[in-house]
Symmetry: D3
Subunit: 280 residues, 6 copies
């Protein structure tokens, strides 16, 4: 009978895999529309109708070893415990010498993942692709918010090692802080191709799908008109080939807000390409 | 120009009102589909296309004084602070001698409201109309869950003073506990008409709209087929006329899951009828 | 190749038909959600997946002669000219000795139709099945409104000859006027079976589909929870068999508000049954 | 991490299970709207938010042994090979001494299943619950059609052993044939409670979810207004407790036509109840 | 508690404001799909999830004074009275020395607004950004139509003072007339950056959101593939900085036709940018 | 009364027409989401809101003679008979000296059409615009599949006469075969403008609408992010003006997956432009 319910039919066992795909269905701090919790299940389902072969990279995902670890069980309503759980699980997988590809869920999940990564890779650099700065000090008094995740990350990773692309929305203070502290490249992804990082530097990639214009991805919590096209994003990602990407996540797909399914298909395709990058 | 953005155009000021309508857009512990945060705004919008006159009670809501206090600002992702905020606000309104009609949001909001009410009405009885027992000890380790709300309430209100109607889903342990401890009337609402409470006893009514069959209200987080019809629910509610209802809430409308808008319209109409009951 | 684009494949020519099906895609006075203009095209499309045989009446619509005249071309934005056009067209078809089945569009279309009918049938009685009284004097200053249509009709037909069933929403003044002037049977359709009209009296039937509970028909401009079931409506209609129904309309289906298509299918089936009644 | 992707988390292995749940995502002869192919995956997903405990039967599905065999791989576009594949697989499972619960897909899948069952149970009786007669000789020239499935079954099972309930749509010829040949109980399910079958007689139950009124289940290929309520269907099914049900299927859920998810939830709940009946 | 129900929380009072935001929920002449009446309420709701800061203009809307006047109450079904009401209200606000930003509703609303503006600004120039010429003499006999609005405007403003951009659909006669009479720049917005108007000339900007490709804005009455991207439109609008824009409108958002909400979000963002332009 | 139910009101009779529009509502081999069967009816409906005038070609479709033949009646579930029926019908129309514009349905329909065309035009060249290679040997064992259609065509037309544009998805084997055998231009349509075919060579154009990015056309069975824009496709098609296009089809619109209707509108507009090309 049919496939195994894993993303793209990933059928390696854990021990043989160099990359672990992990679903994190957490959307507890969503400020506008929740629902990114449904992203992992949705991309798994759609991935069964996605080719395993990438013509862009001329590689087939069936030729590499990836393990789909399923989804973390989120203690609903408890943000702190959720973050702790993510950090613990990430640390465990890293200690097994594997790379992680995390599928959110909302953007706050990147914070505990990066915390675990920094322990293993003290020189970790972070590439942040997003429509929003995510540099708030707090959101309605809460420091643990998807709107603050990069500010939180900047407490673990020197902001000079953070590269932000595609940003087009935020408060004035966030733009000011970003321009002064991080490598801040708003609006487009064109500058990503010239990123000034050594090929050996360990890089963590965090991709908020709302960097795409809502035309290309309406299924997200906070759609932000004025974004990049799918091909612009794809081209930017492919330009990272050859860098030392040690981990990655993709966040903020909220599939129920796109009844056509195109948002989920786009995210599934991006995952395929990023997982191939992780495997190179 | 046009209306004031209040529910049904409620135009009394706070001081003159005996009933306060309060939106609580919190859905932080939703176990299946979040989105009840959008209920208060949605019912306000639809209420502008609802008649103020109830032919069922032959009363016009324009003839009574209700104040729409707007929505609480939820600290997203922080369940404890949210509950504390709700309790504080409820206590404040109660101390002004008013009744509260709370519009969720998810069912957990009833817990802090009841906590405040019990302080004022030590003999408070609770009528719980719902598809689910909501009697879990915890959900994924969390005691503060919409699936546990009546169990939490039973720590503040003797379960002998709790009346549960319409229940049709839960774990076996919940059904056993409910049958042994509360006044437990599963499946239908027929028994509500014979409720054995004195007319002077202070009653808090908590209505989870998923007691309705999804045919009548598909827009909810956890639709539960096998429920009551709208008219059965309406009839049951109208049978409470003459009781001393000192407060009420309606919870778990998730409007985005019903693109027809009928779920929101049904909830709006139920609010009109309950607010009239509160005003009698 | 395939069918002719007519309702249920009606393939009689005009001259041979005793009943004329006419689409009137007018929704110019809709007070909440417009879109009933799409009803005629929608029911034609769905009717191709409806059996022509009614097991309820044990009759096949292929055995009778009905002409689908297509849709009137509405002068958009001009209510007066629209009503005039409807009246003229109705008069023309009546003068050819035929019965009309009109498919709205909104409820205001019944007014010019009844005006034309009264000229031909001075003793016309009107059966009005609806969730709303439609007895307003005006709506935002406009006398020509779907919310006023029965009040307008009462200027042409003595309200003692008007029978209203299923009403459950309106302003207090409308309920008072209705109870005093028309044969006013709110909430249910049960009384329709005992209607006190001679079998020879000419009857015009106007059916607003929002009499159905939104569970059964969410696709309408002003859904009104608390309505009748499809089978209750069907049974009521079938009880009219043997009466002298000289014309009928069905109004207020707004198909875009029910993405499942069930509302359109229900309306199509009701049309089949009513057209069979017209042909008896 | 989380659940296993099986229906309701069925976690028995094949050898230990007395009941096998099998998805058959075939919708190749759908005459109106296809999409029942998505039903098996959809009910699996929703079942994770369904309680395993049935208060109706006071039994927990975790206490019985059921194996989820996944989905058959359908050779798309080839009806004959599909039916052959279903029959072979069914025969194989039956020869292992197990009962089958098949989740369509469309209704034609019942034909090859019944063919296999009759070989094992020569005295097989069939209970058919449906809105449609499914007694056509052919549909557009094709004998292998979901509209013909019971007629096909009647070639393998004497029509005197076929019991049809809830039927409300079909061609005149189908109604005539049904009344003359099968045990034909149109419109309601009330008669099912008095079914005249010995408790030891092997019974196959085939349930087309469109027997439900579209209010309760809009997500189906051919919605048919005028059907039964969810509770009426549930009550009818529960009345089969004690009979010798040796196999069952549920067909024609097309989840994409109900964006609220209520249709999928209803079907999931019906499956839980029927699988419990199979296990008694 | 929460915000005030105004667009972007505009909290100035009328007297202190130089710009007045006015909703005009009129869609009475829509030729295809109505529903633009829901645009003002929809953009208000979504604007609460829009940043007040524009990184494009490096300005925060909280730093300027804008008054949200709410919505005009439309006499439904009466086009003439509606237009008269709009003109009167516009004249009144202009006489108070304020600029107007009108949010339709359909495009016909621009006609009475421009009539009022011409009285105050005899040298008014009009910039028209749209997918359609809107140059019909009439539509089904009606001169007052959204398809005729620029032709109507040309009776009040010399067509040599009218600049049309982005046009890609219309009848041949409309294209011929436009090319001969107005400043007619079809298909793209590139020419807008070189517009030949003095910086002191009073300019009225009317923006039909269907100039955007439906990829970027599917929620409109008459989607017209082949349009501009959001960023192309944004860039064109920003190029108007420094001109003397004395009034503006945005029309034809029909939010119910985009269940993702992206169309409303895009329109909200465009309003923020245009209101900033008006305030400069 | 109103229009004739034909595409764009095509009102020529068969004999006078040089182009025949034929609907083929077949989706029997769809591998992901079926529903392209609804495309012909959907584009007919939407075409009534499309201008007959093309500003791109400065031509009005009312000035040419096109006959809408309606839809083929598909023997549901029988792929072979369906293909045979299409081939027969195509041959018949070709023998009457007419060109065909076929509106699918799924892509497999192109195979029998091309078979018929090759008989009449032995030197037929095929231009294939698509997101997918469609070069599979089989799909789940079936050679007759929409995923194999160009491979099937290559058995009738020398692959050197096949030109493929826009391809961005397939198995590795398909890409290898395509690059080796056909004129294979993946990803973009830019090369189409330089196509090396004589102006007199008979060309058949088959256009799978999923070549468009799902931003521009989400309503298709297998959306494939990373595609071309509407304007890029339009420009490519217009560049074929002057070539000897003897027939064409457009396939794989599945309108139910785009609730905004934009996909249907885009397809309708493309049909208008292609039919004009066929008429030149």
């Amino acid at each position: 009978m049919n496939s195994n319910g894993k993303f793209l039919g990933f059928n390696s066992n854990y021990d043989d895999s160099s990359v672990v795909f992990m679903g994190i269905p957490f959307d507890g701090t969503a400020s506008f529309r929740p629902g990114s919790r449904f992203a992992p299940e949705s991309v798994r389902s759609y991935s069964h109708h996605l080719e395993t072969y990438s013509p862009y990279q001329d590689q087939d995902i069936e030729d590499i070893s990836v393990f789909d670890a399923g989804d973390l069980i989120i203690p609903l309503g408890n943000t702190k415990n959720t973050l702790s759980l993510i950090e613990t699980k990430t640390t465990e997988i890293l200690s097994d010498g594997k790379k992680i590809f995390a599928c959110g869920g909302e953007h706050l999940i990147s914070y505990p993942i990066v915390k675990a990564y920094v322990n293993r890779y003290p020189n970790l650099h972070v590439i942040h692709i997003d429509a929003h700065t995510d540099l708030r000090e707090q959101y309605r008094g809460e420091k643990l918010s998807h709107a603050s995740v990069i500010k939180l990350v900047s407490q673990k990773v020197n902001p000079k090692k953070i590269y932000q692309y595609g940003i087009r929305s935020g408060e004035k203070e966030e733009f000011v802080w970003g321009r002064q502290n991080t490598n801040f490249f708003p609006y487009s992804l064109a500058k990503l191709k010239n990123i000034n990082i050594a090929k050996t530097t360990p890089v963590y990639l965090t991709l908020d799908v709302d960097v795409l214009d809502p035309a290309y991805l309406p299924g997200t919590g906070t759609p932000e008109p004025g974004g990049v096209t799918f091909n612009e994003l794809l081209e930017a990602l492919l330009s990272l080939n050859g860098f030392n990407i040690v981990g990655a996540d993709i966040v903020e797909l909220a599939p129920d807000y796109d009844s056509s399914g195109a948002s989920t298909k786009a995210t599934s395709k991006l995952i395929r390409e990023i997982v191939l990058l992780l495997s190179n």
